[in-house]
Symmetry: C2
Subunit: 214 residues, 2 copies
């Protein structure tokens, strides 16, 4: 299987971390691509993903899967199912919803990155930046309010000691540390911070940290 990637993307990182957790990483061939708003990449748009987004997973028979949540679900089922996504019941929808929230937080911060690093300075809109940052902060506060229920894996029905929503949140926080080191999120979320210290030391996340990954 080929996975299109860039080391900075929190969405790719989640898939790579999932593959490591699931013991599937040896089956993944990483294929680095450059995609960014305004950058032409016709070959990628035509052959892999018309949205010009990463990651995409190209199976050996040519079938192409897109979108990180879809790919994580595929990898989980390839590994037998129920490993990092509960197979059924309320826990399944809780974990998938939490993944969506963590992913939305990361999307908001990527949007801030585009606004502050890509868009010409005179065209930047402070209200947009504040709005997107607020989505990150609100999401962080949401996890902080209910760390036990959302991030503890003790009661979850996944086989591994981590689930895909924890990976998604860790990748979001790692992206913030990478691109917005000045945002002191730890001060605002001490319980998530304590959780993050532990999860970030797992090989799946340590090896894919955007500050060191290639």
């Amino acid at each position: 299987m080929r996975l299109t990637y860039s080391p900075a993307s929190p969405f790719v990182r989640r898939v790579r971390a999932a593959a490591i957790e699931l013991g599937l990483v040896d089956q993944l061939r990483l294929e680095r691509v450059q995609v960014a708003p305004g950058r032409e990449n016709r070959a990628y748009a035509e052959s892999i993903n018309p949205l010009r987004k990463i990651p995409a997973l190209v199976l050996d028979d040519g079938q192409t899967l897109v979108e990180s949540a879809v790919i994580c679900q595929f990898l989980d089922e390839l590994a037998g199912g129920g490993k990092i996504i509960p197979a059924a019941g309320p826990d399944r929808w809780r974990v998938l919803s939490q993944q969506a929230i963590a992913q939305g937080m990361a999307e908001a911060m990527v949007s801030v990155r585009y606004e502050t690093a890509l868009r010409p300075e005179l065209l930047r809109w402070p209200l947009w930046i504040a709005d997107q940052q607020d989505r990150f902060w609100s999401g962080l506060a949401w996890f902080e309010r209910q760390v036990e229920r959302t991030l503890s894996t003790a009661g979850s029905r996944t086989e591994l000691n981590v689930d895909v929503s924890g990976l998604a949140l860790a990748c979001c926080l790692g992206y913030v540390d990478f691109r917005f080191a000045e945002m002191d999120w730890r001060a605002r979320a001490p319980r998530v911070s304590a959780w993050y210290r532990t999860i970030a030391s797992r090989p799946s996340l340590a090896e894919t940290d955007p500050r060191v990954a290639t």
Copy 2:
């Protein structure tokens, strides 16, 4: 179950259409909310979805599901599974990937809408608008190149004569007709256009058309 909604959202519309197709619409209580970038909505962020996005589905026991693809998957399983999302195999990943592409096309056009209707005129960036529109056009061309494989339901393993990716694409195209009537997408995609004429007449889509829905 309560579904937070606004009649203009292509993401909510997909969930409503899915519920109609699945025979579950009588169980949905619609709850209209106003969310938009820059608009404060603390109550919604704190009690329903910290990302301030719609749709969210609040179950009778209080569990909250967020993100349209997650909610559609939940509804499909609630209806027995395999109804509008193939239950397993390559068809499952094909349909979920197609849904992600159609959803990304809609997100790109919502982004154009924000840039051209919400952002102050002097801060608009033509390159951004062109980039986002290009993602829509590339996605449309992608579906047009392979209508038979992607949009025909003859060979699919869903029980209903429609799958969630078809609903997602129809909702995206309906949104373009609603917000960007001047974009003549039919001229560039005659085969998708012919498919759309048929699918748009299904009650699930006719009743939720943003030009008439409330």
